[in-house]
């Protein structure tokens, strides 16, 4: 394979690595660079978002894709199968869409036990039925032993966006309350607890869930919800930094209001991780005008997936693009965009 460096003309303020490293997939700053400085220029004048809202004929559609490569494939509380369905359902839901259809494309490593594939497929079927979406088209490829790792699934979803619904960072406004639908870091800690070489005991179980019902309940209040996001890879830190960057607003969090369960905090302390950078599933962040926040919160708390919803901060006009947390002691700290992989620290 010879590479034609001439034929490839992307301006590249990518980190000085001439090659892909794990950090490019971490959902943080390096992922962002790859998108902004490599894919976008190549694809042309498009906005590559988590979920696009497009028009087909007379219909307004949300359209979103995600590849799922989580290791291990089975973890306390779920599997890559649940994630693959709920992850895409939630990306659609964050556009305010009613998810309708999913596709599923599998890249299987040869040697993967068929029962494992079957169990993942079964989990996907069940998750789809639970979410009320239909898996309607698919694809299967097999790669050799050295070129894969069990099962990778890419799901893509189509949802219907009602007229008038317009959600996104572009609508965020200084003063908006920042809400979160439930405890943070739970999924990430559950997966870490059974990652090879890191195993630790914990009662924490992944809490993946489809969120479009919760979103519908929030929109049904009539409140003018501005922005919704599911803080998955890179955690709340990545999501809020992305929103702040796109909206050119600052975000101020109040640390003591963050719903970080004790077990998540303790696991993070043990490993030297920041719970705000740990991945979530089945959670959403909402930006809502301050006077409507209580109404939205009340509706969220009535929904099974929003029972522990709470307000965690506010959007501000100051320090645009930056997320700041007021610490328990009354100081402030910058909540930075995670750079690459989350790794346990010794110091």
């Amino acid at each position: 394979m010879t590479i034609d460096f001439e034929g490839w003309a992307c301006p590249l303020p990518l980190r000085d690595t001439p090659a892909i490293v794990m950090g490019h997939g971490g959902g943080g700053a390096m992922s962002g660079d790859l998108i902004n400085h490599l894919f976008l220029p190549a694809f042309g004048d498009v906005a590559l978002t988590d979920s696009a809202v497009v028009t087909a004929g007379t219909a307004r559609l949300a359209f979103s894709t995600d590849s799922f490569v989580v290791r291990p494939m089975f973890f306390p509380g779920g599997s890559i199968g649940d994630l693959a369905v709920n992850g895409t359902v939630n990306d659609l839901a964050m556009s305010g869409a009613t998810p309708l259809y999913l596709s599923a494309a599998f890249i299987l490593q040869e040697g993967t036990p068929l029962p494992a594939v079957g169990r993942i497929a079964t989990a996907m079927g069940e998750a789809a039925r639970a979410a009320g979406v239909r898996l309607v088209t698919g694809d299967t490829k097999v790669v050799d032993f050295d070129s894969g790792d069990g099962v990778y699934v890419t799901t893509t979803g189509i949802g219907l966006v009602a007229d008038g619904v317009d959600l996104g960072p572009h609508r965020a406004t200084a003063g908006d309350a920042v809400l979160v639908s439930g405890p943070l870091g739970v999924h990430g800690v559950a997966v870490l607890s059974c990652r090879q070489g890191l195993e630790f005991g914990t009662e924490v179980r992944s809490d993946t869930a489809p969120l479009h019902g919760l979103v519908a309940a929030m929109l049904a209040t009539g409140a003018d919800v501005h922005t919704l996001r599911d803080p998955t890879r890179g955690g709340l830190a990545a999501t809020l930094n992305e929103i702040a960057g796109a909206a050119k607003l600052g975000v101020e969090l109040v640390e003591r209001d963050l719903p970080v369960p004790a077990e998540v905090a303790d696991a993070c302390h043990l490993l030297g991780l920041d719970p705000l950078q740990v991945a979530n599933e089945g959670k959403l962040v909402a930006l809502v005008p301050p006077d409507q926040a209580d109404r939205v919160l009340a509706a969220m708390r009535e929904h099974p997936y929003g029972r522990d919803a709470c307000r965690i901060g506010v959007c501000v006009a100051e320090h645009p693009g930056m997320v700041v947390a007021r610490t328990g002691l009354g100081g402030t700290r910058v909540v930075t965009m995670p750079i690459g992989e989350q790794l346990p620290r010794i110091c």
Binding site: T17, L329, I346
Partner: protein, 362 residues
């Protein structure tokens, strides 16, 4: 977590802060030795809450920052070998050697694994008898007992495929070196609590006496730091220079005798180059001769590494408190946490990285 959360209590912190504010009459420059303390200060915004006159200077106590470039380059060379499983603490993966880091080696097919504990590396060596397993044994006195245990275990288990790439650094000689620096501004030290958990406090009275600086053994939670500052400021205001233990729940004066015995057996003192700072005599540990068979430097012919530190980087001065990070010309331009030129921009408790995140706000 019990005995952790209690030491973050905001009300108690307010009391300590009030005391500090009350007792300060003029500016003081304090150095927290340990990167973990730096992390805690930044993480909780403690420096913003201290009186304006109290300046916290970030010390060199981050093993990620000070591990010499030669050692990193040796690690990269060993990790790239096809038969090797190279095990490291997570922090070390992004530390730049001469032009690349362990992430790069891994992305090129090197088998680099992050372990939680050094014993995980020994386990890997038992599980992979046909591979060479190398553990990257860096750190201060706190980590040394854990690293020492690996070679003891490897010998006991008869492992012939395990070795340790050692680069330990020692706190007291560094304190001396900082105080000897011509432009030194440090007036008191918060000593590294967990180093003292292992080594005790016995090495500090001579230093306090010689350099006439208060040394307060300090923990890592917000209240611990504040108490360390309170005691240090109290001594400074009173014109004293004593060694005090502000972290008694985890530090005994005599340290941990079992661990210290192990360290005497496994390691021997050596001169050590600190990244950015230079050679500090007697400031490191290497494997003792009797464990030579487990010494990765001997097992792998990578002794002759040629290193090239960025000429722009002034992290040595930063590490000694002689320069503030934003006074470095590369700071925030050529050098960012995304693309660090020096190790102090890598680790989240590296002084340059901490400054980078903080400065953006002000």
């Amino acid at each position: 977590m019990k005995y952790l959360d209690e030491f973050s209590d905001p009300d108690l912190a307010a009391g300590l802060l009030e005391q500090i504010h009350a007792s300060v009459t003029r500016p003081w420059a304090l150095m927290e030795v340990c990167g973990g303390q730096t992390h805690s200060i930044i993480r909780h915004g403690i420096d913003q809450l201290l009186p304006d006159g109290i300046e916290m200077i970030h010390g060199p106590g981050c093993p990620v920052c000070v591990t010499p470039l030669e050692t990193i380059d040796r690690a990269l060379a060993i990790a790239a070998q096809p038969d090797v499983i190279f095990c490291s603490f997570g922090d070390m993966l992004r530390v730049p050697g001469s032009g690349r880091d362990l992430f790069t080696v891994r992305s090129e097919g090197g088998d680099v694994r992050v372990v939680y504990s050094p014993l995980d590396a020994v386990r890997l060596a038992r599980e992979n008898p046909d591979r060479e397993v190398v553990f990257f044994g860096i750190g201060f006195e706190t980590t040394a007992p854990a690293n020492a245990m690996t070679v003891r275990q490897a010998r006991r288990l008869g492992l012939r495929n395990f070795s340790l790439l050692v680069s330990h650094v020692l706190v007291p000689p560094a304190i001396a070196a900082i105080m000897e620096a011509p432009r030194c501004r440090v007036q008191a030290f918060l000593a590294a609590g967990h180093v003292c958990s292992v080594m005790g406090t016995g090495e500090y009275p001579p230093l306090a006496a010689k350099y006439r600086v208060p040394i307060v053994v300090t923990g890592f939670e917000p209240l611990d730091i504040l108490e360390g500052v309170r005691q240090a400021v109290g001594q400074l205001e009173a014109g004293r220079h004593e060694v005090r233990n502000a972290y008694p729940r985890a530090v005994r004066d005599e340290g941990n005798p079992a661990a210290m015995a192990m360290l005497r057996d496994v390691f021997e003192v050596t001169d050590r180059t600190w990244r950015g700072i230079g050679m500090i005599p007697g400031s490191g540990w290497r494997l003792a001769e009797r464990y030579r068979e487990f010494d990765a430097e001997h097992r792998f012919a990578v002794g002759d590494v040629r290193t090239a530190e960025s000429p722009l980087c002034r992290s040595g001065e930063v590490l000694q408190g002689l320069l503030k990070p934003d006074e470095c010309a590369a700071f925030g331009t050529r050098c960012t946490p995304r693309n660090p030129l020096g190790a102090t921009m890598v680790s989240s408790e590296g002084a340059c990285a901490a400054y980078y995140a903080y400065r953006r706000l002000s």
